[in-house]
Symmetry: D2
């Protein structure tokens, strides 16, 4: 039995089979993938990685269940992440539509032998990744990353009492159920999540950096410098190296990121200020139109249409012997749900010198309400 020192949970014990998985090259790659992508450009401490988060999620899973398939799923739930975390997701979705299938492939290729040896069913492990308590409205993934991201950004908003929440929860074999005494802690976690989205995950500088990086990835794929298959095996170092070696747009992007000299906001408004149906807009097409209108290179325009996440706030609660949805019994949660869309902003980003003309073009094209808006946080 080995012990790893974790900044969030203290000491994390590793059993033999866990150690074998962690010692593979495929798992060690997670050490070199930043959990929060380019958030360190805003919060300089945010250099933590998928590696420690994966150990943390496993640690929490183990407190809730004894099922080794679930524990393994928690350990491996991020194994398919591309460099700089979420940044590559959209790109993969654009070029390959079978994200979860890929993860299945990666797990089989790298861990099936080890799991078999210890009598852990690889198929179940893959399946469990998408199920409670690894995934869901309140899950071990979120419970770990909220506190961890809060620790490394230094943003206290995200601090909630994980230990208390875990004590007041049970996994009934299918679902994670919060006991009545844990409702406040669960609400607290969802409030924290909301606050972290606003302060960190949707911080405009983080978003701009991420979108620039994504655009460079797309450029490299379309120019045959990179394939999706390669991307999924890379770590942060590989993709930075590739961009630095490149001559054109990717090189421009990596230099911008390295110097923290990023695109600026030409447009940044609430979704309800936008006069066109954004669901029908293809960002790359919109970028071309704006660029053409302004007479500039289309690489220098980014149209950022945030996805409306279907966070369901549907965690389950046991009250008076009955299991109900959290958003049914909690007004706080009902409110957070209704505020969800407020967090999202429609943005158009470009080089500093083009901000004015891109703004003008974008306001026209997207029919954005020009009256001075009453900002609503």
């Amino acid at each position: 039995m080995k012990i790893v020192q974790d900044t969030i949970h203290g000491t994390i014990k590793l059993e033999e089979w866990q150690l074998e998985i962690i010692d593979t090259a495929a798992f060690q790659r997670l050490r070199r993938i930043k959990q929060l992508g380019f958030a360190n450009l805003v919060y300089p401490g945010a250099n933590h990685t998928r590696f420690e988060h994966s150990l943390g999620a496993m640690h929490l899973a183990r407190k809730l269940v004894e099922d080794e398939e679930v524990v393994a799923a928690a350990l491996l739930h991020d194994i398919g992440h591309t460099p700089f975390s979420h940044s590559g997701e959209k790109v993969i979705e654009r070029y390959a539509r079978r994200r979860h299938e890929d993860v299945k492939g990666i797990i089989k290729e790298n861990f099936e032998e080890i799991l078999d040896k210890y009598g852990i069913d690889v198929k179940k492990v893959v399946k469990k990744i998408k199920e409670s308590p690894v995934s869901g409205d309140i899950d071990v993934d979120r419970m770990d990353y909220l506190v961890r991201d809060s620790y490394y950004t230094g943003v206290a908003y995200g601090v909630f009492d994980v230990q208390r929440l875990i004590e007041k929860m049970y996994f009934d074999g299918k679902r994670l159920v919060i006991e009545e005494g844990g409702i406040r802690a669960a609400e607290s976690m969802l409030v924290s999540r909301f606050m972290m989205y606003s302060a960190v995950y949707y911080h405009h500088v983080c978003r701009i950096a991420k979108k620039m990086f994504e655009k460079a990835l797309v450029w490299m794929i379309e120019n045959d410098m990179l394939s999706i298959e390669e991307l999924q095996k890379m770590d942060d170092y590989d993709v930075v190296a590739l961009m630095r070696r490149s001559e054109r747009f990717p090189k421009f992007v990596i230099q911008s990121l390295d110097r923290r000299d990023l695109f600026k906001r030409a447009v940044y408004v609430s979704l309800d200020k936008v006069g066109v149906n954004l669901k029908k807009v293809k960002p790359w097409r919109a970028e071309q139109i704006i660029a053409e209108e302004c007479g500039i290179d289309e690489n220098f325009v980014i149209v950022d249409i945030p996805e409306e996440r279907s966070e369901e706030y549907g965690a389950l609660v046991e009250m008076e012997g009955e299991v109900r949805r959290l958003d049914e019994v909690s007004k706080i949660v009902q409110t957070l749900k209704s505020l969800q869309s407020e967090l999202l902003k429609f943005g158009v980003y470009t080089k500093k010198e083009y901000v004015d003309k891109v703004q003008k073009a974008a306001y026209d094209i997207f029919n954005i309400e020009k009256t001075r808006q009453k900002k609503l946080f």
Copy 2:
């Protein structure tokens, strides 16, 4: 210049005049008044006192203003507290209606000479206690106690970033104004306050203990064992000693508190379940009626009608050069405001053996909705 080690703010520096005030017997009394009354019956760490809170509030005031009258007001804002903090407030209000006048008297009597010596105007100090930034929706009092109460209860809900909030605020001479960059931190503080009310301040055990203690105070006043003037000079030790020396109801109460063997809830429902207008009900009259109905001593019935606090959530925010109310620009704050009343519960408490009959009587008398309620947190 002296330095005090504070658990929340690290080191707090004390200037000469502050040291002289702190060294008076009147101020030292605050060392022996628990900040959270009987909350330590639920949270065993909650033994902190008005003394350290007063230093903390002063420390925060000093970060916002240079006006010595304001700093003195922050230091002295709790000087009139009765033993076990808020527990005595209601009692005082019942027997003496001039609360703030009393504080003025205490300050003049004990600190005027010292303040004079340093050219600090005692009248202004008294006045500043009721004004921003010492009092208000977001004030140094709340900023200190929320984090402090959180630290000593071990309830993480209340943790918010005081330092960040203070950095993003300014006092314009009349009002405390939050800059745009501080809105999230302010929201976070108000969410914390809401959570702390639910987990700590309105925890039913804390409320029952407090109400029992208050009833004992009233008993002693009505039985000429105690006057309001005496009460305001006492510390926690004095009043406990008095109750232990007494023979009848106060002795029963102090023994109940000492053994943590308290009254139980016969009724505990949302205000909207109550079929009579609670604003017109005098609790002591209701207690007599219920007791009579049940054939028991009226001392063993407590009717707890919570006050609807007019927390205005009206902190001020500067956005785009304009100062506006926080609850106007923040949906989170609007929601908290609307949830305020949800926190309040109407309660009737009695000895364990009387719970059933008191419940029956109270349900009738208060016309409480009997259908199984859908609990809403």
Copy 3:
């Protein structure tokens, strides 16, 4: 199963039998005995109690052993404490020589029935209080109080990694043994202890307050206001009440403590500066002599001869399959041991106005080296 929120260990679970013990009046008394006596006169946050410390020690014991007698011993190890903690120890020792016998009596009287009911042997419990892992060089008592005292004083010195230390220790049925990987953590704990002694436990203001209080206790015992038996059943409130009701020296002392207007140091030197054999000196006799020499009331002189504690630093370590003493394998620990006596100071305290003459008398009587000493910390 009930859960208590603890500031240090997070959530502490209570089993049925533990809950029954805690719910007795005898155990609840610990809620009203401050862990650090009068240390809050220096560190305003130090208001924590024997109650939470006892729960914490039990929590740690449970991590090391499954033996319920040991767990009960950890829970009850402080049950015999007199008001304001250690302050009464010396007094008891002076008047009653059978300290541990008393504890046995208290436990039998109050808890035997409960322990019996759950098949826990009360005799073994009493015995285990004096044995590892409840007592010893590194024990659950110390592990809890060092971190807890550090938390409430705000003195960071005492922070060491309890969790890591506990993970790297095992109880072999007789002794607590540290694994090789835990040596650094153990050293760290002993360094912390050393630092805490210096900053808190032996802080001169804490010592003076404690000694004044002890002298008042002795006065009350000798004037038949108080017996040892009574003292052991009292809490902080009782003894303060008694002192406030008294007319003479105890009243003077409680007023001094309440106003933080304490005796001052007339002498405060390292033990090696003292020219007489302190082991042969009876403090009360010395106080009389000094008082007579100065023509003042002997109550106003306190002679403080610190005990040389036989902290053995003899914790056990397993290295390369062999169990050895920590102070044999660790130079840090050897050093701390040799520094132990440096911490101790010989002090004579008196009223401010008598400092000069008391100093003169004491320097003569104790033959204290007058050359300007090279202070050695």
Copy 4:
């Protein structure tokens, strides 16, 4: 005025000139240089960078002095660091002997213009880097990194009260002097440093990783793949990319590091067990001899001769109006000094399969005492 959120110091304010320096490409490079090199192979959270440490050191400097040259020196003190921090130092020393000259060049080239604009003398800035309070026994560099490294490794040993220490220090224009009230905090810091050396900085896995990396750097320099000048402009990404692109030894090393499949210890003993004068041994020559003896490639043998650091523990203390050395007045510090050499180990590392034969050869060649040693921590 901009604010950066720091995990250690809370909020750090940046003035205009500081912002301009930070926004240069040369300074932004520090974002991509890990503070603790490969320590994240042992402590997964240790991914923090020279960037945040530099801001932290500046923040502390500003609390001690108003001299802008000193503040700038604190901000720029690490500007010359090579990738993965200290790892490159030895290599540079081997090939270029003018380390500080290089730093001077870097600062002039990148920051002279900015500093000039704000009337800050670049020459003084360069000079101040090597002087108190930026360098020295207790300096802002150490005060920041000890707490920061502790935070990110999750090793609590290093936690000491920076705030208290800073409050109890002053800079007299030439030297940093600790007031008497700060001696304990200073001792605590030196103890922390000692503990961190043992648990983190000299952890054998960290050392092996570092030595393997250094050997790869040397290999690349000798094979004309890399120059010292290039190395000083690179970040972690550059050097990893270079090693991954290489075909031979550097590729082997980066793969070992990526997979956490490192050399093992063939020899690891206290310096006093070694029978030859290590000061006269050139590691690379010793590696050749051992390799030859064993018939293996010399790249697979690493001889690690630790430098005896001349940490002087000579911080200054003001006691009774006189300034003296800390190690003169503190026994704790005297002890730490004498223990310094205990921390150092002589090591020989090699591939797992060669451990036995390399051990045999090295024991002969270095005449290492074979009697079972009494381990001394």
